[in-house]
């Protein structure tokens, strides 16, 4: 079968279970395509020969009851993988070999999947374009010279470019949904506490969540079913009744109430985003949903709040990189000098910027004015959603205020880069689940996404809405394989 890499995860699983395909054939196909796709720079670390060996071993005695039987999968390089280098896109972790496995990836291997390699991302997941990675920027498979979004840019490019059937990313302020939107793929940010954070390189602990990035909603539901487990090793993991997301998936969303928040109609938003949103509303109606206008009055305060809370937590989390126990070390005249040079040479500019913002807002004399203030506004933002969810089951918005931009275009202007996450950040602050689905193209043919935000722990609900709408939208990604010579 020459078309292996164009198949959805669901179809590959079916073909392996029916013995129409072996794990080795599937793995080899994705390895071959990944080998031909170096120009995308999607991988930081490849583990191809091990992957082929594992696939051969799987085929010798295949357990076909597993959910991901012999499926090859590359993952974001923010997940610690035992004995496989994990860099978080940073020079400071260039030689770091974890002695343990993240819970989320362990869940994936337990269901029979095989690691292909580790995917590029913004350094410590801090970025919206994958340009902050120490390992170079990633090309968007949609067009040469276009960013794939970030921080899970390598993940989005790998799914969209068919280098992996499916993948996982992490989302602190939009890092799954924004790249999904930029590459014409589906990305789910689960409820805070749904997927374990154990073994994920920490950025902002009260916001970080892992989630699936896929070609379609059905695949996304299947992977969510695998990765979402209660985990004692993460003290913020929540023990709630998880659905069998893929089995319970339904296109019947008749009578579901979907809210349209007027505050998401932001100043300067391109007309094509507004048109896409209107089209989405129309599709939701056609699916039988009831559309209700709602208000989330504090929306415009979400980004400033995020840029206090996230850097504050990051500055604390990243204090561990001191050149002592692991990672890069610079030579210093004494201990303090060694720390300061290690962190100055080991971290990139954006990470240093955020550590310094975080340190400042937590420092004596500024804590109340910034950090405490932000925590209070965060409460108001969460209250807005609580209030809205008295009237609606889900909320529909655009995923991003624009389509993918050119590499280099926003690199020197941090604030304009941050504005990319205007529609995604409120969801992280409130700890809610949200999914981005591809819904159309702009004038250049670049994909645009719609976001469906759910109530806490109601992943099934938004997956169903996405599944129903996906059917109406009938999106086709325009991938030309331009990077394959």
């Amino acid at each position: 079968m020459s078309d292996i890499t164009t198949q959805s995860l669901t179809s590959l699983v079916k073909n392996i279970k029916n013995k129409k395909l072996s794990s080795e054939e599937v793995t080899q196909a994705f390895v071959d395509r990944s080998e031909k796709s170096k120009e995308l720079n999607a991988y930081i670390t490849e583990d191809f020969s091990n992957a082929i060996n594992k696939a051969k071993k799987f085929d010798q005695n295949p357990n076909l009851d597993l959910k991901l039987p012999g499926i090859p999968m590359a993952v974001k390089d923010l997940f610690c993988t035992e004995n496989i280098r994990t860099t978080a896109g940073s020079k400071i972790l260039e030689n770091f070999i974890p002695t343990y496995e993240s819970t989320v990836t362990q869940n994936i291997w337990n269901e029979g999947a095989i690691l292909l390699g580790k995917l590029n991302c913004d350094e410590f997941a801090m970025g919206s374009s994958n340009e902050t990675s120490f390992y170079g920027n990633v090309q968007n498979p949609i067009d040469n010279g276009l960013v794939p979004g970030g921080s899970s840019g390598g993940s989005a490019a790998a799914v969209s470019g068919q280098l992996t059937p499916i993948t996982i990313g992490t989302d602190t302020g939009g890092s799954i949904r924004q790249p999904a939107s930029f590459t014409g793929t589906v990305g789910l940010k689960p409820t805070y506490g749904s997927c374990s954070r154990y073994g994920i390189v920490a950025f902002a602990s009260s916001l970080d969540q892992a989630g699936p990035m896929a070609q379609n909603v059905e695949d996304c539901a299947l992977l969510q079913e695998v990765i979402s487990t209660y985990d004692k090793k993460d003290s913020t993991s929540i023990d709630f009744k998880r659905n069998d997301y893929s089995k319970e998936l339904t296109k019947n969303i008749k009578g579901k109430k979907i809210g349209i928040p007027k505050e998401y109609r932001v100043e300067g938003m391109p007309k094509e985003i507004e048109d896409l949103w209107q089209k989405g509303i129309q599709y939701a109606k056609e699916c039988g949903a009831e559309i209700i206008d709602i208000s989330l009055p504090n929306t415009s305060y979400a980004l400033p709040t995020y840029y206090i809370v996230a850097p504050a937590e990051a500055s604390s989390n990243l204090a561990r990189y001191d050149g002592v126990k692991y990672g890069f070390r610079a030579k210093g005249e004494n201990l303090i000098d060694m720390y300061e040079k290690t962190r100055s040479e080991g971290f990139g500019a954006e990470v240093q910027r955020r550590i310094m913002i975080g340190t400042y807002v937590l420092s004596s004399g500024y804590y109340d004015a910034y950090y405490l203030k932000a925590q209070k506004v965060r409460k108001l933002i969460k209250n807005d959603f609580d209030e809205a969810y008295k009237k609606v089951d889900a909320i529909l918005t655009p995923s991003t205020p624009s389509s993918a931009f050119k590499i280099g275009e926003k690199k020197d202007d941090p604030v304009s880069m941050y504005l990319n996450d205007i529609f995604t950040v409120p969801v992280n602050l409130a700890g809610l689940p949200a999914i981005s689905i591809p819904a159309g193209h702009d004038a250049s043919g670049y994909p645009l996404g719609l976001q469906i935000i759910g109530k806490a722990f109601k992943e099934q609900e938004i997956l169903n809405v996405a599944y129903a709408m996906e059917d109406k939208i009938n999106f086709k990604n325009k991938i030309t394989d331009w990077w394959i010579k």
Partner: protein, 95 residues
Amino acid sequence: MSIDLKTIKHISKLSRISVDEQKAEKLAGDLNSIFEFIEKLNELNTDKVEPLTSVAETTLKFRSDEVKSENIREQIIKNSPEDNEDFFVVPKVVE
């Protein structure tokens, strides 16, 4: 408000990130534009609002402090930038 070079030097010390003059000037510019954007929060009166520290409305669970990983000493030491067989090595701190 404005973040001057003196403040940048102070934050750099607290963050344990060394900063030369050129970098300090660039950072001052960046941080000023970011804080200008953050100042928007002052439009809101939050006197009577409780701060939100965690979205999960549960109390953190206790677990017993048990050793689960054994015999990983060698692997752990191997990750250190300047190792000997038994310890992490740092520049001399006591004369």
